[in-house]
């Protein structure tokens, strides 16, 4: 039985495994029609082999190298530009953060720090004997006793 035409193409192109190849070879020795088909395939390939090939001139090749260099440089420039943009963003964000930090620190420093007894003075009620801190109570009690001792 004749192999499929695709199989004959594959035989011609060296795409068959050893066993299939041997089978087609045996068939070709007996089948004139398939042998003629193979000859036609070989003829087409021979035409391709004989066909003059397009050739890139030295000048064109040089131009190709130059343009590739330009593209590489452009790529590097693009990367550098992107990095510069990132750096600029970081700088701006950093500056803003620094400024904000400094502002909040300044506000805290500007606010007068109340002395430990400030609350006591404001809230103490000597008549009721309620003191906001034990230290204040002790101080005022001591002061009262000093007044009692006075002549």
């Amino acid at each position: 039985m004749c192999p499929t035409t695709e199989k004959l193409d594959a035989f011609h192109d060296g795409e068959l495994d050893e066993a299939s190849r041997a089978g087609v070879e045996r068939h070709l020795a007996e089948c004139a029609e398939c042998a003629a088909e193979l000859a036609r395939l070989r003829e087409i390939s021979r035409l391709f082999d004989a066909s003059p090939v397009a050739h890139l001139s030295q000048m064109s090749l040089h131009r190709l190298h130059r343009r590739t260099d330009e593209a590489m440089e452009e790529g590097l420039l693009r990367i550098m530009r992107a990095l510069s943009a990132v750096a600029a963003c970081l700088l701006v964000a950093g500056s803003a953060l620094l400024l904000k930090t400094r502002e909040s620190t300044t506000v805290e420093v500007a606010r007068p720090v109340a002395p430990p007894w400030a609350d006591v003075v404001e809230t103490s009620d000597t008549s009721s004997g309620a003191y906001s801190t034990p230290a204040a109570a002790w101080y005022l009690a001591d002061d009262t006793s000093r007044n009692d001792d006075s002549p």
Binding site: E6, S45, F48, S51, L64, T68, A71
Partner: protein, 177 residues
């Protein structure tokens, strides 16, 4: 590197290029430019366009260096990029309703001995037949490589190649025995 086969050398050059070695990329260009140009000449209509396609192929390859996963050969990878670039160019040029073939180029491709112009006959084929014949007959690519470049199953390569040869034979029947 002298002991390595061409594919391994290509991979080495591509790795070096990926690490910023521009000299390695230029070496890669020297190794593949002629081959790609020859292919491009069959895919587009004139020498200037073919040169542009090759140029865009290398620029595309350079930009995509990091995307190459070494799962195919550099040759296949570059060929695939070339086909994409050629298709893009053809799409952009399609508006030219009556694209005129560069006769000087066609003339220069004729076989002076046989009088058969294979390239001219190729141009009369559909793009998919032309591509597959170029890859097989000029590039000597295996069916597996062709399948990878064209992104089709290997069975499709077999059947398409057979039909393409049949079509080409029709175009050249006056010259074939």
């Amino acid at each position: 590197m002298a002991q390595q086969n061409p594919e391994a050398q290509d991979i080495q050059l591509l790795r070096r290029a990926g690490h910023g070695d521009s000299k390695a990329f230029h070496e890669l260009l020297d190794r593949h430019a002629q081959r790609l140009y020859r292919l491009a000449m069959s895919l587009v209509d004139n020498a200037a366009d073919a040169e542009d396609v090759v140029q865009e192929t290398f620029i595309g390859a350079y930009r995509g260096l990091q995307s190459f996963r070494e799962q195919s050969s550099v040759k296949t990878w570059l060929t695939r990029i070339l086909f994409t670039q050629a298709a893009l160019m053809q799409r952009n040029r399609r508006r030219r309703a009556n694209a005129v073939l560069d006769e000087s180029v066609v003339g220069s491709m004729a076989d002076p001995d046989s009088g058969i112009d294979v390239q001219a006959a190729l141009r009369k084929l559909s793009p998919e037949y032309r591509e597959i014949l170029m890859l097989r007959e000029f590039e000597q690519m295996s069916y597996a490589e062709i399948a990878e470049v064209l992104n089709v199953p290997q069975g499709t390569v077999e059947s398409r190649l057979h039909r393409a040869r049949g079509e080409l034979r029709e175009k050249l029947k006056a010259y074939l025995t």
